[in-house]
């Protein structure tokens, strides 16, 4: 493979910007922080991605989607999965959080390292999740675990809407 041109790197970014998350298609893998970098090397393009939850079954699909998007744009690249630094919901852009809310998923709080309680059996201030439909904070957690590894189930006690919450990670 020949050395990459800067134009290819820019093109790859533009192409990958359009790749949606397979589970939550209103946000892109870039906005979620899964797509970490596009690097032009002497051996060609290198796409750096990072897994979300260790067992997230969508990762295989995401890799396939990235390959397919690049191939459709006539780009060849090597996919590199990088674990460190560990993915965090803090990397989610403000625009992505708004899109999640509009889609009916309460976005994650920011995880300040100092706020992470070692053994938190009980609810803390971090668990104050606003209803994405009516904005009320009068909500309750139905289940710590939801339809995907990254979400928990909640219910609004004012408008009675059941909703997903993207858990801070």
């Amino acid at each position: 493979m020949a050395a990459t041109l800067p134009a290819d790197v820019a093109k790859a970014w533009a192409v990958l910007e359009q790749v949606p998350d397979p589970e939550i298609p209103v946000v892109s893998i870039r906005e979620l922080g899964i797509l970490r970098d596009v690097i032009g090397t002497a051996e060609g393009l290198e796409i750096i991605i990072t897994p979300t939850y260790s067992g997230c079954p969508a990762m295989g699909q995401i890799e396939d989607d990235v390959r397919a998007a690049l191939a459709a744009a006539g780009l060849k690249a090597r996919l590199v999965t990088q674990l460190s630094p560990a993915w965090t919901t803090d990397w989610m852009t403000a625009a992505a959080r708004d899109k999640l809310r509009a889609y009916g998923i309460a976005p994650p709080h920011t995880t300040v390292a100092a706020n992470v309680v070692r053994f938190a059996a009980r609810k803390s201030a971090q668990d104050d999740v606003a209803c994405p439909r009516c904005g009320s904070h009068n909500t309750t957690e139905t289940s710590h675990f939801g339809s995907t590894a990254c979400k928990s189930l909640h219910k609004c006690l004012d408008c009675l809407e059941p909703f997903d919450h993207f858990k801070p990670y």
């Binding site: 067992g55 965090t88 992470v116 710590h144």
Partner: protein, 263 residues
């Protein structure tokens, strides 16, 4: 023991722990006491299997040759597994032999509580491992195990400090499982070597914190911590109970019947 052999044994120990408990938790899929718990056990199992994959991939890289994560998970014999005996025990726990012997949620929750509280401290320590890949896996796993601790602690309180029946079943599960935790604190040769090389964590350092965390929840759950004398299990040294081979034969059956199959 060379550093490479030590690292492989240590990684397989961590990976086998995650895989075997992931498989046990997955047995609840479709059988959870309520829908939310069915989903919770599947999610926790998925986290564990994901962690196992990362650890097996790393171990396979160190082993070299034809090794892959699938080979390590599906084509090793029970006598080659290094998981704690605690994690291979069936979900029916102390109810064995009774009419409701199939699955006991008290056993599943108590095991998840004892083990995830331990792993929270262990993953914290392993973030400083001299093996950078293991440190990276630890940083990810730590974020996940926090949710496992929260989930299991919550149910320890609800069921322990619940009805007389739920409390009795939680106490029976605790009495049954607690002696197996002795294996956490009895270091094996590979753990001592890994601690020396900087790859592994020192169990002594986290023992006090674990006792404190466990005692706090047990007290609030109105449960009595049982004594832990007697036989110390040796799962991590590849000496298992009879339950592991049954678990593996179910888990490995498909891969062995159709090697290299893809779909």
């Amino acid at each position: 023991m060379s550093d490479r052999i030590t690292a492989i044994a240590y990684l397989l120990h961590l990976a086998d722990n995650a895989l075997v408990l992931g498989q046990r938790n997955a047995e609840w899929c479709g059988h959870g006491p309520v829908l939310e718990e069915d989903i919770a056990m599947a999610n926790i199992g998925l986290d564990l299997i994901g962690q196992a994959r990362l650890l097996y991939q790393h171990a396979a890289g160190l082993l070299g040759g034809e090794n892959t994560e699938d080979k390590l998970a599906y084509f090793r014999e029970p006598g080659e597994f290094r998981n704690y005996t605690l994690l291979e025990l069936p979900n029916h726990g102390p109810l064995a032999g009774s009419a409701s012997a199939d699955r006991d949620y008290a056993t599943t929750i108590t095991r998840s509580f004892l083990y995830s509280s331990f792993m929270l401290l262990r993953w914290e320590a392993l973030q400083q491992s001299s093996d950078t890949q293991l440190a990276a896996i630890a940083a990810k796993s730590l974020k996940e195990v926090r949710y496992h601790v929260r989930h299991s602690s919550d149910w320890m309180l609800r069921l322990g400090d619940g009805t007389p029946l739920s409390r009795a079943r939680m106490q029976a599960a605790l009495d049954h499982l607690m002696p197996y935790t002795q294996e956490f604190w009895t270091p094996s040769a590979f753990e001592l070597a890994a601690q020396k090389s900087g790859l592994g964590a020192n169990g002594e350092d986290i023992h006090g914190d674990w006792d404190e965390a466990v005692d706090t929840i047990l007290a609030e759950a109105t449960l009595t911590r049982p004594a832990t004398e007697g036989h110390v299990p040796q799962g991590k040294n590849c000496i298992h109970s009879e339950h592991l081979s049954w678990l593996l034969s179910e888990m490995q059956g498909l891969a062995r019947a159709h090697p290299e199959a893809t779909w």
